[in-house]
Amino acid sequence: MSSQTPSELKYARTDEYLRLEGENATIGISDFAQEQLNDIVFVELPEVGAHVAQGEPFGAVESVKAASDLLMPVGGTVTEVNSQLSDEPELLNTSPYDKGWIVKIKVDDPSEANALMDAAAYIEYCKTR
């Protein structure tokens, strides 16, 4: 597999990534996830201001193959959503870590990120699937 897995990010077992910057964070899905899903055709985004606990769904992505829930890697309050995805869901395929970010949140408790995998662990985890 030739997926990109940036080393500065944390990863959930359900393939969301977390870019933690102080008490703010950006969330999206990994390159591995977008490859598995294939062409993404729809993204359901949460409302700004919504509070979602760790592991709870904050949205959904739909591809030509399947629909999947998006689960919060750490609990927090949504401060911004990438509304460009409504018109161009394919950004998740072409630029998962940059233009295809999904939500920005204010993190409840940064220590929740300790439960996530680092890039090396995530790469190993993907190999087992």
Binding site: N38, V41, P89
Partner: protein, 497 residues
């Protein structure tokens, strides 16, 4: 397309019938009842006939070729079913006929209920639900009603394995309960440790498909059932895969409390197009009083063999209620009854034996050609992966599309979700060895082509009337109206009086 839309062959003033002269004075119709937006095609009878017959020729069906669509049991539907359903006494019976005047139909329904219950080891069955999904909903509503009836209000969760049909969690949600996903172990069975961890007094029950959607019989199913029962939950069996079980094992005897049957799968009533179906529900002693109604009961037995018993309709005492107008889709009851009547108990057992044999034959022939993520004796279907070592960029979808070039319907793709690039194959019992051998040869040829000429797969199908469809565009640019939407809206705008 090789066939024009019927609107494209329309020409003004052309009709299929010539109406006689009006024998009464014509009147002006009220203006507000007249519409100009009814865009009906104007065509002759012959044009209509050719149009629809030509369209039907573009279709693939079980009557034209192999249809190994896993989890759907696309078996051949014997035409004698249709003969029976067209008998005037059945076909023209009015649903409001009184019970006395519909004893034949009620006797048939009673017999069908009794056979379905007997075949699966249950106390009773209801044949009212209109389809499998409604049967599922009925079963879960019955479980919910059972707990509420016992004043046990805290049971709000239903456990669902991650290999389940998507309808299972949807059903749970429709019933106002919460679905909790359980992981499978590496053999495709329920992970008992995860089950143990999930069980507490908030669990209302569990929904599980037997054999599982991976096509295998969960070897620990008795443990699963026992554990859920010990925690106070009930067991629901998704009967989609009943074609593997008839005469082999009775779900009621395994310990299941309720299940649904898909008459269009196992019992050869027609599939398709959301048309009338029947998702009968069977229940044991605990749940039989909660069945959806009305069900048919024998009101008066008879000792005299020249005299028929008297049948009547009845709501079970704690019934979850009605799910469908009248008595359900009676035409489907006739077809399923006919099928079961002709085969008999031994015959239905043979049906399941052959379904399992055919699936295992194809599986054994394709081992080593395609990866088998769950490599063990299967039920009536098996799952393999459409992704090869050393062949990048070929997906299950490409293999499926290529199959169409050989006149074979693609198997189920990308389901179950827990198998990457899944191809779920169910040949059914109605296919002979020559057809299965041909399928195997075609699958081997496609595997070879994937290595030698992958473009041939990626651009498939080549021989069908419609070539590779653009699924991304189809999903993103919805056009579900035959007329352009703004035009339609404009004409629908009220005239403003």
């Amino acid at each position: 397309m090789t066939e024009s839309l019927i609107y494209e062959i329309s020409s003004p003033g052309r009709t299929a019938v010539t109406l006689p002269d009006v024998g009464v004075p014509e009147v002006e119709l009220p203006k507000d009842l007249l519409r100009k937006d009814l865009d009906l095609p104007e065509v002759s009878e012959l044009q209509v006939m050719r149009h629809f017959v030509n369209l039907s020729h573009l279709n693939h069906s079980i009557d034209t070729g192999l249809y190994p669509l896993g989890s759907c049991t696309m078996k051949y539907n014997p035409k004698v079913n249709e003969d029976a359903a067209r008998l005037a006494g059945f076909a023209y019976l009015h649903p409001l006929s009184d019970e006395e005047g519909s004893q034949g139909a009620l006797a048939l329904m009673y017999q069908l209920q009794t056979w379905l219950a007997e075949l699966s080891g249950f106390t009773g069955a209801s044949i009212v639900p209109a389809a499998g999904a409604q049967g599922e909903l009925a079963g879960i509503l019955m479980i919910r009603a059972y707990h509420l009836d016992r004043k046990d209000h805290k049971r709000t969760k239903i456990l669902v394995p991650d290999s389940a049909h998507g309808t299972n969690p949807a059903t749970v949600s429709m019933a106002g309960l919460q679905a909790v996903e359980l992981p499978s172990d590496k053999n495709g069975d329920v992970d008992l440790n995860a089950l143990r961890a999930a069980l507490d007094d908030s669990v209302a029950g569990m929904m599980i498909t037997v054999p599982s959607t991976l096509g295998v019989f969960d070897t620990k199913i008795r443990d699963v059932i026992r554990m859920v029962h010990e925690a106070g939950g009930l067991m629901y069996m998704d009967g989609a895969n009943m074609n593997a079980l008839m005469g082999v094992v009775k779900p009621g005897e395994l310990g299941f409390d309720v299940m649904h049957y898909n008459l269009h799968k196992t019992f050869s009533t027609p599939h398709g197009g959301g048309g009338p179906g029947c998702g009968a529900v069977g229940a044991n002693e605990k749940l039989v009083d909660f069945l959806p109604g009305p069900i048919v009961e024998m009101v008066e037995e008879t000792e005299d063999e020249n005299d028929a018993p008297l049948y009547g309709l009845k709501m079970p005492v704690k019934s979850i209620g009605r799910l469908k107008a009248f008595q359900g889709n009676f035409g489907m009851h006739v077809r399923a009854y006919t099928y079961m009547r002709i085969y008999g108990g031994e015959g239905l057992h043979e049906v399941s034996r052959h379904a399992v044999l055919n699936a295992n034959y194809v599986r054994a022939k394709l081992r080593g050609v395609y990866p088998m993520p769950v490599d063990r004796i299967c039920g009536h279907e098996f799952v393999m992966s459409g992704h090869f070592e050393g062949v990048e960029g070929i997906h299950a979808l490409d293999i499926s599309k290529r199959l169409m070039d050989f006149g074979i319907h693609p198997p189920t793709n990308y389901f179950p979700l827990i198998v990457p690039e899944a191809l779920l194959i169910e040949p059914t019992e109605t296919e002979d060895k020559a057809t299965l051998d041909n399928f195997v040869e075609v699958m081997k040829k496609i595997a070879q082509e994937a290595k030698d000429d992958p473009e041939l797969l990626r651009s498939a199908p080549h021989t069908t009337p419609v070539k590779r469809v653009d699924e991304v565009r189809a999903a993103k640019q919805l056009m579900v109206c035959c007329r352009p939407i703004p035009d339609y809206d404009q004409q629908r705008t009220p005239s403003g009086d």
